[in-house]
């Protein structure tokens, strides 16, 4: 983070690459989420998966248009905890959404263009709305947070 306040297209691109890495992780993680949920909850995971894939693709295109190399997905990721039940699966989804939320907040902090900040606040909000549903499914209270990503 440019704590001296210096922000430019370079800091913005670095933050976009970081959020792309988080989106790659979310796409991978939702495969595990979907497998761990009860069948009636899987549409929620599918919708989230589609949303993250869309954002990932948008970020890849954005970075390419800027002449930056998009971050590639890792072959696999380490889960933060074993997913052994639907509650675990929902908790993993919360972690995934919180992870991308933190990355989008960093984009807001580092961005220099209005368009990128608009994208960041939109996707940060979408992540938090999904997280509210997953926190409820995981039995967490409160289901909301005052400062997503911060």
């Amino acid at each position: 983070m440019a704590e001296d306040g210096a922000r430019d297209e370079g800091t913005e691109s670095a933050a976009l690459r970081a959020v792309l890495a988080a989106e790659h992780a979310a796409v991978w993680g939702y495969g595990t989420v979907g497998a761990g949920l009860a069948p009636d909850s899987r549409p929620q995971a599918f919708a989230a998966d589609v949303a993250h894939r869309d954002v990932r693709d948008r970020l890849v295109e954005l970075l390419r248009q800027r002449g930056d190399d998009p971050v590639a997905a890792e072959p696999a990721y380490a889960l933060p905890f074993p997913v052994l039940s639907p509650v675990d699966a929902a908790a993993l989804a919360v972690d995934l959404e919180d992870g991308v939320a933190a990355a989008w907040v960093r984009v807001l902090d580092q961005a220099v263009s209005v368009e990128v900040r608009q994208l960041a606040v939109d996707e940060l909000s979408a992540a938090e709305v999904r997280a509210v549903g997953w926190r409820a499914a995981a039995g967490r209270t409160p289901t909301t947070t005052a400062f997503p990503g911060l």
Partner: protein
């Protein structure tokens, strides 16, 4: 699952996320350094002060909803507390941190008699989220991050009130 764990990326590493977000939170609280210079910074500070007023109205709206519907008020007490926390953080980040009085009946109005109080409150929350989200795109640095985060938090409130 991989047989040999791969390095956790930012999206899955709690430690990395906590470290990064803690630093950002500190910046958000004390976001007065010159991330933008001169008049631009002054204009941004003024706009942030305007968002304090928006949040004051929202806190008042939560109080008004609780006064109109005690059961709903009990249900949303946690949301109201979070809205208050957001207000505190915005005030701390605004250039003139002196808190202005919250007047529910003046700043937010009250739900119309006989109306759906929950729906009214949700509308107030959504309006505040819209305002903060719009303001975040006109800010830079920690101010943009703070406003964007508050806006997202209120989107979550609206979802919880649905």
């Amino acid at each position: 699952m991989p047989s040999s764990p791969a390095p956790a990326p930012p999206g899955l590493s709690r430690r990395a996320l906590l470290a990064a977000s803690a630093g950002l939170a500190l910046l958000a609280v004390g976001c007065t350094p010159g991330s933008s210079g001169g008049s631009a910074a002054s204009e941004q500070a003024d706009r942030l002060a305007g968002q304090v007023a928006v949040q004051e109205s929202l806190v008042a709206a939560y109080a008004a909803a609780a006064a109109a519907d005690a059961v709903l008020g009990s249900e949303v007490a946690g949301l109201a507390a979070q809205a208050g926390d957001q207000l505190d953080r915005l005030r701390a980040a605004a250039p003139s941190p002196g808190p202005s009085p919250v007047r529910p009946s003046l700043s937010a109005g009250a739900p119309p008699a006989g109306s759906d109080v929950r729906a009214w409150l949700r509308g107030q929350v959504t309006a505040a989220a819209d305002a903060h989200a719009g303001a975040s795109t006109g800010q830079t640095g920690a101010r943009a991050a703070l406003l964007g985060s508050v806006a997202a938090g209120l989107r979550g409130h609206a979802a919880a009130l649905a």
